[in-house]
Amino acid sequence: MTTSLLAKRSGGRLALLLALALLLIPYLHALATGQPETGSAGLAALHSRAESVYCAKGSTPTGTILLVETLLIAVATLLARGWKTHGNPLQEGLARHGPYLFVFLLLTTIPFLLAWRTGSSACTRGKAFFWESVFIDVFILAILAISYNLLFGFAGIVSFGHAAFFGMGAYTVGLLMKHLAFPWVAAVIVALLVGVVIALIKGVVGLRIRGLYFALFTLAFAEVFFLLAGNRILVDITGAEDGFTFAVPDFLNMTKNRLFFYYLTLVLMALAFWLVRRLMGSPTGQVLRALRDNEERARMLGYNTFTFKLIALVLAGILATGAGVLRGIALKGASPNVLGVGFTFDPLLATIIGGIGTFSGPVLGVFILRLVEQMLRDTVLTLGSVQIDIGERWALILGVIFIIIVLAFPKGIVGTLQEQYRRRKGG
């Protein structure tokens, strides 16, 4: 009975079901063992029961369960990969998707690991609370990098103006909620539509020129928004160079509901990752790769390459705008720097470090970029009696680390490792 049920499901779907089950277990456990806040009723009481368990300081049962699950998945994945049976969908699903499942579960565990190691709570001010915000920043930037990689790594379109999407996402959602009292859903939808419009304008006008010229066109295009946002003419609306702040609903408020926001951004990052993987595995994705490698040939195969580039640009635009929307909501405000070149070059750098045209490379790149930066910022090296404050020179040291990475991994970390693996496998 169970085997026939299993056989009906593909490996990928089983892996997804498994992930959902694994995530529900710790929450259900917290619900069953917690004590509700006095005076709360209904759903709020139910939720506060769970909160009383996973918001405790130090080690929590929730964290322990998640950690055990993470380790179990790691072991199960290794076993599934080693076993050479065929036709078992659960085993195939684990072998293929296990590593991603493992990373996802590890990331869901991190707030509790931090709480345990620092003796703080995952939900209230403290060290774990602070590091969660660093990770939220990483997840948002990872979406931006995934979007950048779709364009640059897979479709071969170099853009120096990705910040236009990112910044306009943050600005649009904020301005609509602040000045026009849009509900958050409407504001998010309109912001994403603005992203589509920007992509269409860039595509229809810009994609007729190629390579570096297109890159420069996008750079100029993004600078227009940057200058406009910082201009005093619009000071009453945008706050000019100071930017502006706006109110967000409580459940989206990162200061009040950080753990929720952490999981929200994590899930959205996973979704963006899955979307791009799915796209690149489809015939459309193959055409994008083909026109990157040889556009003329793709045209002769009967593809209107312009249409396909436009599709890539629009999808990347939506993802990058979405990342910007999250950033605006996370900071409850926006300032011209979200439209600046920094938010073009960070994803570019992350993509190069992680591996151009690999799926996990850009995400890994962002993690390295941001986490190393954060760690360097408050490190003081003590050598005997000499104290060196690395925090002051973090940018310099980060630069040296990048140069070493690029020299050691010419195709990015993931790209180079993949190549070595393939070479070893090929003999």
Binding site: R278, L279, G281, S282, P283, T284, Q286, V287, R289, A290, D293, N294, E296, R297, R299, M300, L301, G302, Y303, N304, T305, I311
Partner: protein, 250 residues
């Protein structure tokens, strides 16, 4: 031969690169079901003419007709959709993709909706790709990256890619260059089969005179961008002007 409407026809086709006339006032016609050769010394404008016909290069003068329609200003993907396929002199398979992926990507997209393009290729497309690969003796290499194939196998793959969308005419640019004699025989045999059994029309650029003599019913000779001669392979071999163009005057 009954004179019917040409499948592919060029009238007064002229292409300049700066001051140089790479193709100069060339008239030609290919009829349905024919195998026509295009020969000439290096630099005589054969590949340029191919590029003009497949609409990769714009032409300066003249007109090109395909299936009776004027395609002088059509885009490459449009003529591909109409049923014109070509291969390239410098092999252009996608080296990082597998042989099968190269074939699958060559089934054209005719604007049937982007959602459909997000789904995996249909079973029928897979089946066609497999059949063609078997036909071209590449079936066992289906899952190898195309970059691992030998030069000859890549030529065969190129031909397979051109055949994938079931075109009416196939333009082969030096299908035999750099290929061992056994494989040349295979290619020759496959072209003949496709021509006789499926009625495919071919236009071949070739240096291999035996290949041309065995396959083609008619041959055009280009020299310095101009049409030097046309006729059966026998006539061409004995044409003094052609001999002079190839070997120089005595």
């Amino acid at each position: 031969m009954v004179q019917q409407q040409p499948l592919l026809e060029g009238r007064n086709v002229t292409k300049y690169f700066g001051g140089l006339a790479a193709v100069h006032h060339v008239d030609f016609a290919v009829y349905p079901g024919e195998i026509v050769g295009l020969v000439g010394p290096n630099g005589s404008g054969k590949t340029t003419l191919f590029n003009c016909l497949s609409r990769i290069l714009p032409i300066n003068e003249g007109e090109i007709y395909f299936k009776g329609k004027n395609i002088t200003h059509a885009k490459p993907y449009q003529v591909a959709h109409m049923g014109l396929a070509r291969t390239f002199q410098v092999i252009r398979v996608y080296r990082k993709m597998t042989v099968l992926q190269n074939m699958l990507i060559s089934r054209q997209w005719r604007g049937e909706g982007i959602l459909k393009m997000l789904r995996p290729s249909s079973k029928a497309t897979h089946e066609r790709a497999r059949q063609l690969l078997d036909f071209l003796l590449l079936g066992h290499l289906m899952h190898e990256p195309a970059g691992h194939l030998s030069g000859g196998q890549r030529r065969l793959l190129e031909i397979g890619m051109a055949l994938m969308p079931d075109p009416d005419i196939i333009l082969l640019d030096e299908a035999t260059s750099g290929i061992n004699p056994t494989l040349i025989e295979t290619i020759k045999d496959r072209i003949r089969q496709l021509n006789r059994q499926e009625g495919k029309t071919f236009l071949l650029i070739e240096h291999n005179i035996d290949f041309i003599s065995d396959l083609c019913s008619r041959v055009y000779v280009l020299d310095f961008g101009e049409k030097l001669a046309e006729g059966t392979p026998e006539e061409i071999k004995n044409n003094p002007a052609v001999i002079e163009a190839y070997f120089g005057a005595e």
